[in-house]
């Protein structure tokens, strides 16, 4: 119950102000199609440099939570999911809006998001300290395999092609080795002076997530989205509460599915929403009504995608392994303040850890309250032309990456990686494993070198890295995740569709 001790810290004027700012800003950003939660959080990192660690994390955490929920606004009113996590919400939410129940759909979506989100954060609160203590048993070989596991799980589960996902992870791991070697001081792969200090993670994150999105908007040309915001008629909030109570089963399924999926690294909100929607439909006596504007569909999808947020941070805060691209960006936000997740975070910076986690709990409630008021404004923002969005994101990316170290080198790195990532994405590569490789590369290398030294002084390399129950377990999980994904890929025989080519 240590978290209760730090509960008051969330309510200091500056912390609460940042929480409000992150929540309201996140709701608006989330409603904007093309601005994913990861990209929104990456673009916000430069604004946290001058803040204290806890304050910076409060801002980033609030933005993460509310961008996921805010995506429901454009999913319901425009039939354009604000983020991949809101795809399932579109199925029934937009049909409800077409039937004149837009306000009701938005209300139940925010209420369900809050219930799912609070449950997810409670899981984070109670699981994290236990796992953080357990992480003390991890030696260099285990941490090496954990880092590799982080890359391979996301590489194989998050990508459409296992080989390309793993290759993306390898590219990320290689990029992480650029610069001077920590132990020997040797130069590695420095083919431009701006790479002397290695690749700055924040600049890389901004480039990898923001620039491909900007170029994608360019590729659409001058055509407008043609999306029309549906009119919202007034609906009493008490009616939305009653609807939520009537659909406790969908609520429970969504929350449970989202929480479990959130704990699995690499499986994001999109999967959580779709699986919860599918399971709710299977268990519902009104399964025929799904897809025709049925509130159960919205409740299941939205409770799941927000329930996923808290648990997705468990591997990050306990084992330093980001379970999702957004968690990887949050890790970047921690590292710039010289704080490493895991036991260090809870033993040496409990104020930072618990203020951040508590703020996410309060943030869920604020998100629900403000979501209902900001929805109209957010829907208007969602109609902002892509030309404006592309230019705004490009400007923010340039200023943001420069402000990391006041270095043009970082801007060049950001742009180069971003352009490279756009073309790689067009050929089926994925940004998420590449980012994980870039972030986990130094952790993997440091533990590999440390482990090699221990191994050379004791049993030798193979017994040290391949022996022991924990090593064997981690290696088995790495192999299982790759094998499962390869099997699924072979089974589904995914060929490039005409739609995919035209997208």
């Amino acid at each position: 119950m240590e978290f209760l001790y730090y509960f008051g810290d969330v309510f200091t004027p500056i912390n609460f102000g940042l929480l409000l700012l992150g929540t309201i800003g996140g709701l608006i950003l989330g409603a904007t199609p093309g601005l994913s939660p990861t990209m929104a959080v990456a673009l916000l990192i430069p604004f946290t440099f001058q803040l204290q660690a806890a304050q910076g994390l409060i801002l980033l955490g609030a933005a993460y939570t509310s961008t996921v929920a805010g995506g429901a606004v454009s999913a319901i009113l425009l039939k354009i999911p604000g983020a991949p996590a809101n795809i399932a919400t579109t199925l029934d939410g937009h049909t409800m809006a077409q039937k004149g129940e837009g306000a009701k759909a938005l209300q139940i979506s925010f209420l369900a998001s809050a219930v799912g989100g609070v449950f997810g954060v409670l899981l984070l609160i109670f699981l994290t300290p236990v796992l953080a203590k357990w992480a003390l048993a991890f030696g260099p070989s285990h941490l090496f395999w954990l880092a590799i596991l982080g890359v391979t799980v996301i590489g194989s589960l998050d990508s459409k092609s296992v080989v390309k996902g793993l290759l993306s992870g390898c590219i990320g791991l290689w990029l992480a080795t650029i610069g001077f070697d920590d132990i020997m001081g040797a130069q590695r792969f420095i083919f431009h002076p701006s790479l002397g200090g290695g690749i700055n993670i924040i600049a890389a994150l901004i480039g990898l997530f923001a620039i491909p999105q900007v170029i994608t908007m360019f590729a659409k040309g001058r055509k407008g989205d043609g999306a029309e915001v549906l009119k919202v008629q007034k609906h009493p909030i008490s009616g939305a509460f009653k609807e939520l109570f009537r659909n406790k089963r969908a609520m429970g399924i969504g929350t449970a599915v989202g929480s479990v999926i959130g704990l699995i690294p690499g499986v994001g909100g999109q999967i959580a929403g779709l699986v919860a929607y599918d399971q709710s439909k299977k268990f519902s006596p009104d399964r025929d009504k799904f897809g025709t504007g049925h509130p159960e569909g919205v409740i299941a999808a939205e409770s799941a995608n927000n329930a996923m947020v808290g648990p997705s941070l468990v591997p990050l805060l306990t084992l330093s392994i980001p379970g999702s691209p957004t968690a990887a960006v949050l890790l970047g936000g921690l590292l710039i303040h010289g704080i490493f997740p895991g036991t260090d975070l809870f033993d040496n910076h409990p104020d930072v850890a618990w203020t951040f986690i508590n703020s996410m709990l309060i943030g869920q409630i604020l998100m629900c309250i403000f979501g209902l008021y900001v929805a109209g404004l957010a829907a208007k923002v969602a109609q902002v032309p892509q030309s404006v969005m592309a230019a705004v994101v490009l400007g923010l990316a340039v200023f943001g990456s420069y402000s990391v170290q006041s270095s043009m080198g970082d801007v060049y790195v950001m742009a180069s990686l971003g352009v490279m990532m756009y073309f790689l994405e067009r050929f089926g590569f994925s940004a998420a494993p590449l980012v994980l490789g870039l972030i986990l590369g130094p952790i993997a290398e440091a533990n590999f070198i440390q482990g090699s030294m221990i191994a050379n002084a004791t049993d030798g390399l193979a017994p040290y890295f391949l022996g022991g129950p924990l090593n064997i377990f981690l290696i088995a999980v790495v192999i299982a995740s790759v094998a499962y994904s390869a099997y699924m890929e072979l089974r589904t025989k995914r060929y490039t569709s005409k739609e995919e080519i035209l997208a």
Partner: protein
């Protein structure tokens, strides 16, 4: 799969494979070898996966990734060129705020679906650019006190 994406996949995966070979070569030839222990480990996996991907592309077995259509390419080239000139030359040469204002206005004009023949739409674009620059100046120069290159104008 059509011929164009297949050729594109061959070029794309060929470049990745070439990088993989270069990384592997450097990892195994540079000294001190201790500093390249980890790069050797990952570059070996990197090059195997890259060559496998390249071979699949050559055989036409690639299943994912739609490539870039001619229309998409035609659409993105002007914006990409403006962005690259802005980032790699203008931001340093003209100063961040001047270069950003110019690049923002050009991009807005290039991709705005609104008419290019009406004075009103041009006025709107100038207004949006001005508002964006005020916000950026307020955020970065005043709030975050980031000193950006000012150069010729501002």
């Amino acid at each position: 799969m059509t011929t164009l994406p297949r050729l594109q996949h061959m070029i794309g995966s060929g470049i990745v494979a070439a990088v993989g070979i270069w990384v592997t070569y450097v990892s195994y030839t540079q000294q001190p070898s201790e500093a390249f222990l980890f790069p050797r480990l990952i570059s070996t996996v990197f090059v195997v996966l890259a060559l496998w991907t390249f071979a699949k592309a050559c055989l036409g077995w690639t299943k994912v990734g739609g490539g870039i259509t001619a229309t998409q390419f035609k659409n993105l080239v002007p914006g990409l060129l403006v962005a690259l000139v802005y980032i790699f030359w203008a931001a340093k040469g003209l100063g961040f705020y001047t270069a950003t204002a110019i690049a923002f206005f050009i991009l807005l004009s290039l991709y705005d679906p609104a008419s290019h023949k009406e004075l009103k739409t041009w006025g709107k674009r100038i207004l949006i650019t001005a508002v964006f620059m005020i916000v950026m100046y307020g955020l970065f120069a005043k709030l975050l006190t980031v000193y950006t290159p000012r150069e010729v104008f501002f």
